[in-house]
């Protein structure tokens, strides 16, 4: 009970940070999303390669005991700093929902999920002074974007052997950026200006994944994913294509004891393939990324490991889209979470709070994310 109260207090703690919407999502396609359930988010995603409710590894849906629907929400509170100043921002998103389960009487499982592929929500404000008609006029500009790319995943898994599950998924990548540029002049003889455009993206990808149990307490997982390319339209007119990355990931899970479960993973994504396309379209380029995470889950009651376990984890990642040329943004975070199952495991609630820090050059972002997830197994 004390842990629960501690968790509740954590959610109310004064916070500054970010998760999805970010100044690091201004360039390129935005900030890549992580298809994590709140349960996996509690360990900074360390268990994502093995988590049946997460969307990273299609093989893991074979681990769903029954048809399961999950819904995850995330709120971020962050402080943004750059040479122009600082600001406290906040946002709420619903980054991941999924539905899936086993095909009864068969070694197959199927599922669909919907997650954020990239997020490009931002509103940037700048001040400038222009010389108009021989008079210096201060102007206030706001460039804002809402939207990004989403990943609709259709996945299936096959339990090949007692200790091995393989899976595959088909990804429909789609979405749009609604961008607006506002300018107001301090001299009201000049009318305010509002211009807008809509970028839309469409592409498909495939992924393969596997989970294999090496011994009584050791599991390995691997994924390989190709997202092909995304065709880009601006106000319904084709403007080009952007290569999306290949992803290769490897995960390891070790049940260190009756109470402690540990996991780690690393994922490499070839975002540099998009570099030339982005530069050709007038963007700022991109670079390959790595993501590593380590975390654990401590069960209070070994007989009932899903009863309010303590989840923890840290992670580090690089971000694909550059702000200052030549400097790749990076992020690291730490998280803490827990959850409970009830109604004979037919329902579950999961909570997670995470600290996140992103930086590159003079650009920084820090803050907290609060996530909660609901899973129902009817």
């Amino acid at each position: 009970m004390r842990r629960l109260l501690l968790l509740a207090l954590l959610t109310l703690a004064p916070a500054t940070v970010a998760a999805q919407a970010s100044q690091f999502g201004v360039r390129g396609l935005g900030v890549p999303g992580r298809p994590l359930s709140t349960r996996a988010a509690g360990s900074s995603g360390a268990f994502a390669m093995f988590d049946a409710e997460s969307g990273l590894n299609p093989a893991t849906i074979g681990g769903l005991p029954a048809m399961t629907a999950t819904f995850n929400s995330s709120a971020s509170f962050r402080t943004v700093e750059n040479p122009a100043g600082s600001a406290s921002l906040r946002s709420t998103r619903f980054p991941y929902v999924s539905f899936g389960g086993p095909a009864r009487g068969t070694p197959f499982a199927v599922g669909v999920s919907y997650s954020t592929y990239t997020n490009r929500d931002f509103s940037n404000a700048t001040l400038d002074t222009l010389e108009l008609r021989d008079v210096l006029i201060p102007v206030f500009d706001t460039l804002s974007s809402r939207g990004g790319m989403s990943d609709l995943r259709i996945a299936g898994s096959f339990k090949a052997r007692e200790r091995s599950v393989i899976g595959g998924s088909f990804h429909i990548l789609t979405g749009s950026n609604r961008m607006e540029q506002h300018r107001t002049f301090t001299d009201n003889q000049y009318r305010p200006v509002e211009q807008s455009t809509e970028l839309s993206f469409a592409g498909v990808g495939v992924s393969l994944g596997a989970v294999h149990q090496l011994g009584r307490s050791l599991w390995v997982a691997a994924i390989a994913r190709s997202d092909g390319g995304a065709s880009v339209e601006r106000d319904s007119a084709p403007v080009g294509d952007i290569d999306l990355p290949y992803s290769l990931g490897l995960g390891l899970r070790w049940k260190a004891g009756a109470r402690l479960d540990l996991a780690a993973h690393g994922i490499f994504r070839t975002w540099s393939g998009a570099n030339s396309d982005l530069l050709a379209l007038g963007g700022s380029g991109s670079d390959n990324t790595v993501e590593v995470a380590f975390g654990g889950e401590f069960a209070n009651d070994p007989r009932r490991p899903n009863r309010a376990p303590i989840r923890f984890g840290v992670y580090y990642a690089t971000l694909p889209f550059l702000l200052p040329p030549g400097l790749q943004p990076e992020e690291y975070g730490a998280s803490l979470g827990s959850g409970v199952r009830f109604a004979q495991d037919r329902g579950s609630l999961d909570l997670a709070v995470g600290y996140l820090s992103r930086s590159t050059g003079d650009f920084e972002e820090r803050g907290f994310t609060l996530s909660f997830g609901v899973a129902v197994r009817p």
């Binding site: 629960l4 109260l5 509740a8 959610t11 122009a84 700048t126 009318r191 963007g283 700022s284 909660f372």
Partner: protein, 406 residues
């Protein structure tokens, strides 16, 4: 409290925190790193009217249909005298079902002062009786002022220095009533001319028939009714039926310049051709019409006129239909009297309309308010005049913002 209740409480708290959070995404940004697409650039261009397509047209509002009458003394804008002709006064007064002869005891003539030089004290108005036959639209300064002889002076009205506008009147009693005596036989008509005096050259605007503020002539009469042996007092009121004013030096518009105002009033039509890059994709943030006076604008300093610009529905030359109801496309601003500075009008809404509606002609109609009732007669340069230069349309606009893709 059970563990289940604890979870429920934590869930409710977290759900409240996450869903009740109002989004705030605006952050300061530094360019170029956080400015995909760069900065919106602002451009400024100056257009002149199409050569020979800027014209003045004269004859819209004649002086006798103006909204107010002018009167002045020695004003550089020109000497003016006002003229009023009243309704005929009946030669009998109705008593019961019969008409009876009457005796005029007293009479009152009232004028409506619309505007005066509020900085100048000692304004006097002089009312002269004139021949009603000369009070018509053909009246000239000479034909009217030649009747302003001492014998024709009805009275003078001293305008209180504190009165900026309103009624002023004179009441004639006793022998003075004879100054407005009318023929006994047949209906009589009174016509008056109005002059003014002031310590310095000045002017004033008086009420007019069009504005229902014309002069009034009231006769207070006594009707003898021998049948009953009583005397009845009655009032016979005569309103203005015609008014005009005459100028010592009427304006003669120069076809090489743009004349706005005067009497009969002139209007100017300016035609432009906005370049396609601006018309098709520019975002106009400001458009200013600049007119260069050919000479300092004369007039009454304390009664400056309004220069009005209107959008057109169609370009039919002098008879082009203009916007009359939508105030967004009717732009007006005061013209300073005595100066030769460039006159500027903010016509942004009109130019934006040209962009939005292809059918609207890229033209502006200019007029002066009060039309045909101002001492000012501004004259501006045109494309046919080397000095001063033609009107200019100065457009400040933005090209389409180059949103980064992506």
């Amino acid at each position: 409290m059970s563990r289940g209740w604890g979870w429920l409480a934590a869930f409710v708290v977290l759900a409240s925190v996450t869903t009740a959070c109002q989004e705030e995404l605006t952050a300061p940004a530094v360019c170029p790193e956080l400015c995909p697409g760069g900065n919106a650039r602002v451009f400024d261009t100056v257009l002149t009217p199409l050569p020979g397509a800027d014209s003045s047209y004269t004859g819209y509002v004649p002086r006798h249909r103006a909204g107010s009458m002018l009167v002045s003394n020695g004003l550089p804008a020109g000497d003016a005298r006002a003229v009023y002709r009243f309704q005929a006064r009946r030669d009998s007064a109705p008593v019961g079902d019969s008409a009876r002869p009457y005796v005029v005891d007293s009479a009152q003539i009232s004028l409506n002062l619309i505007r005066r030089d509020t900085l100048l004290d000692g304004l006097n108005l002089y009312l002269y009786r004139i021949d009603p036959a000369t009070a018509d639209s053909e009246a000239t300064f000479a034909s009217i002022t030649s009747q302003f002889v001492p014998g024709a002076l009805i009275d003078s009205i001293h305008v209180p220095d504190t009165l900026n506008s309103g009624l002023v009147r004179t009441v004639l009693r006793g022998a003075d009533v004879a100054k407005v005596a009318l023929p006994v036989e047949g209906d009589g008509v009174l016509a008056i001319g109005v002059a003014m005096s002031a310590p310095e050259p000045s002017g004033a605007r008086l009420g007019a028939l069009l504005a229902q503020s014309g002069a009034t002539f009231i006769s207070y009469v006594t009707v003898d009714t021998p049948d009953t042996g009583t005397i009845r007092n009655q009032t016979l009121s005569a309103q203005t039926t015609f008014n005009t004013y005459v100028l010592a030096a009427p304006q003669r518009p120069d076809p090489n310049l743009l004349t706005v105002g005067g009497e009969p009033s002139s209007r100017a039509l300016l035609r432009f051709d906005v370049p396609p890059p601006i018309e098709d994709s520019g975002t106009i943030v400001r458009a200013t019409l600049e007119l260069i006076p050919a000479a300092p604008v004369i007039g009454l300093r304390t009664d400056p006129p309004l220069l009005e610009a209107r959008s057109l529905f169609a370009d039919l030359g002098a008879k082009s239909p203009v916007v009359t109801t939508d105030p967004r496309f009717i732009i007006s601003d005061t013209i300073s009297v005595g100066g030769a500075d460039t006159v500027r009008l903010d016509v942004t809404a009109i130019v934006q309309l040209w962009q939005a509606v292809d059918e609207r002609p890229e033209a502006i109609f200019l007029s002066l308010l009060p039309e045909a009732a101002s001492f000012s007669r501004p004259v501006f340069g045109s494309t046919r005049s080397a000095t001063p230069g033609p009107a200019r349309l100065r457009i400040t606009y933005l090209k389409p913002f180059s949103f980064e893709t992506p």
